[in-house]
């Protein structure tokens, strides 16, 4: 069937709406998901369509939201718990990594917790330090959880459906910076994507750019510009921070022998660290140059626009890094 063209926000909305229509057990809860129509409008119209039973406005109680969703999931429902932004999920860290991610293991398989924790991630619009994080890695550090972050509308559509249908707990983050970007979405209600499988977003042979979420858009833009200079960059979107598709990364690297890893977050103990460590350990003989990392500056994010702009990388930093290793 013909694809639709939708901003990522709408692709997510459609996926969630179709899943709620498909499965009575799926419900959405979170701050302002109902009457307010969702802070990011992903649940626009849901209260009207599904009613108060399945569209739950909650108090400002993140640790409670996290834990309640885990209990409801264990009991047989399929909660989609929205954290208005990932920053507030810091308050639910214990509920997510010590409960959702572990109830199955504690009891050796007696329970499962098929919950999806959705959260807007990333920075921009001068949200300031406490509201400007892209901290997927601190959650992905822990086994028992899956962590997913789409980079475009089609992926968002398929990956959210995958996450809702899977029996494991998933932290699903949505780049605020991508919500408004349009892209084709398959007109296929059962469109799902495999867990832990990344995707080549642009083929190339000279250098591998590894990233996820919004950073993928910087890589694609960099690849375009580099192409003009005859540099062929391959863009690997891992889609999942856990499980991480190392095979796909290695395959690409064995072809290009060079890599730049790009992410929105701070450098230390981050996405780029793991990917670089994995490549050098598993593709040592293929390394023609050091693997570079592009990250935000190692500071909390300031309010002032010029400083905020200075804090974050973009495609020009990717291009710079690529040229350093070519």
């Amino acid at each position: 069937m013909a694809d639709k063209n939708l901003p990522m926000r709408e692709a997510l909305r459609l996926a969630l709406q179709e899943e709620m229509r498909r499965d009575e057990r799926v419900f959405i809860m979170g701050e302002e998901v109902g009457q307010w129509q969702g802070t990011h409008k992903v649940t626009r119209g849901f209260l009207e369509e599904f009613g108060e039973k399945r569209v739950r406005d909650t108090p400002i109680a993140e640790m409670g939201i996290g834990g309640l969703a885990v209990g409801a999931a264990m009991a047989g429902l399929r909660p989609v718990a929205e954290f208005m932004t990932i920053n507030f999920a810091f308050l639910a860290l214990d509920a997510i990594v010590n409960h959702a991610a572990k109830v199955r293991y504690f009891f050796d398989g007696k329970f499962k917790a098929p919950v999806v924790f959705r959260a807007a991630t990333g920075w921009g619009d001068q949200a300031t330090a406490s509201h400007s994080h892209t901290p997927e890695v601190i959650f992905a550090h822990f086994p028992g959880l899956y962590v997913c972050s789409p980079s475009n509308s089609a992926d968002a559509y398929g990956l959210l459906k995958t996450s809702i249908r899977d029996d494991n707990p998933v932290l699903f983050t949505e780049s605020i910076g991508l919500y408004r970007f349009p892209g084709p979405v398959p007109d296929e209600p059962d469109y799902t994507l495999p867990i832990g499988k990344g995707d080549i977003k642009h083929e190339g042979s000279d250098v591998t750019l590894v990233s996820y979420g919004r950073a993928v858009s910087w890589c694609l833009k960099a690849a375009k510009e580099l192409a003009k200079e005859g540099i062929s960059a391959e863009v690997v979107d891992v889609r999942w921070l856990r499980p991480l598709d190392t095979e796909l990364i290695f395959e690409s690297f064995r072809k290009t022998n060079r890599a730049v890893i790009v992410e929105e977050s701070h450098q230390f103990y981050s996405f780029g660290s793991e990917v670089a460590a994995q490549i050098q350990e598993n593709c040592f003989d293929y390394m023609d140059a050091p693997i570079k990392r592009v990250t935000q500056h190692d500071v909390p994010v300031p309010f002032s626009k010029p400083l905020e702009d200075l804090t974050y990388p973009d495609h020009t930093d990717v291009i710079k890094a690529v040229k350093e290793i070519l």
């Binding site: 939201i65 834990g67 209990g71 504690f106 009891f107 050796d108 398989g109």
Partner: protein
């Protein structure tokens, strides 16, 4: 709410003495290093609370608690052999040896398990009750709450959800006077813990003496009635006492509080209280009957220990990686 008859009381006596036998045996086994680890929290002294509270549960109702979770499993009828095997980390344990004393559970018995993070299970209780309400099952969730746990943010958020959405949860605060070494008065700005219910629109059923199973049964009955009548969540504070300190590795409180402990044992032992009641109320019950029940429990626990110690340990990488995820 039916007044308990002789058989019911004898069954309660069996449950309470089985718990005591099981817990004291665990204590002994720990001293002998046949049960290992740092965490083993015993229910001795609390028996009347769980027995009286759970006597109201029906098939469809649910139970969830913290790490002090042996009694709930025993009352619900989980095989003591599988429980003892879990204490010893054996493959045959209820949690395959992965959970240990703090993580017993049995879905067949609607026992949602014991949890080790203080307060962590409270929103889970609200979530389980959310499902009951969502699917209109009429089930009630019995959630245990320690006195110390009431000061944690989890308590606040979980109970507010229950009060706000009228979730069918019965919050049973077991006020045993301490969170580890901290008296309730040194941890709570207002030590009348049941007062907190009102903040959440949760019905406050106030306090009851946790050493007298009949009073516990009676008070809890009213709270269950409230919930089953569709009036929303309820809370009861039960005053009780722990006989074995916070956990078996905690010796200091047995000694520090020796006098206090001795008084509780002498004057407020839940098993003694029920025994005396049975003997005085029913001519047809005599000391031998009660002794018989206790001996039966000894056998049950003997068998459990034997089963456990003859069970293998999990020790392969395959076992290690099993059930991290649903695959």
């Amino acid at each position: 709410m039916a007044k308990p008859n002789k058989d019911t009381l004898l069954e309660w006596y069996r449950q309470m003495t089985l718990i005591r036998e099981f817990e004291e045996r665990c204590y002994q086994l720990y001293e002998e290093k046949r049960i290992t680890g740092v965490y083993l929290h015993l229910y001795s002294g609390h028996e009347a609370v769980a027995v009286g509270a759970m006597a109201h549960l029906t098939e469809k109702d649910h139970t969830i608690t913290a790490y002090r979770d042996h009694a709930q499993a025993l009352i619900l009828g989980v095989d003591p052999r599988l429980l003892m095997a879990e204490m010893m980390g054996r493959k045959t344990g209820v949690s395959g040896g992965k959970g240990g004393s703090m993580h017993l559970a049995s879905p067949e018995h609607n026992f949602w398990g014991g949890y080790a993070i203080v307060g962590g299970h409270l929103p889970l209780a609200s979530g389980i009750a959310f499902e009951a309400q969502y699917n209109d099952t009429g089930a009630v969730v019995l959630s245990y709450v320690g006195d110390g746990a009431t000061n944690n943010g989890y308590f606040h958020e979980a109970l507010n959800f229950a009060g706000l959405w009228d979730l069918p949860v019965l919050w049973l605060i077991e006020n045993n006077g301490y969170g580890m070494g901290t008296e309730t008065e040194r941890a709570a700005g207002n030590p009348r813990l049941h007062d907190r219910a009102d903040s959440y629109g949760v019905k406050d059923f106030e306090r009851v003496d946790g050493q007298n199973v009949l009073e516990v049964y009676d008070k809890l009955g009213k709270a269950y009635d409230h919930i089953r009548a569709g009036k929303g969540s309820a809370l009861v504070e039960v005053i009780t006492y722990r006989y074995r300190g916070h956990g078996v590795s905690d010796k200091q409180y047995d000694t520090l509080k020796q006098k206090e402990l001795a008084e509780w044992k002498a004057n407020q032992d839940p098993i003694t209280i029920l025994g005396v009641h049975l003997l005085s109320e029913y001519k047809t019950v005599n000391e031998e009957d009660l002794a018989g029940i206790r001996e039966m429990n000894v056998k049950v626990v003997d068998e459990a220990v034997e089963f456990a110690e003859n069970s293998p340990f999990p020790n392969t990488l395959e076992e290690l990686y099993a059930n991290v995820y649903v695959d």
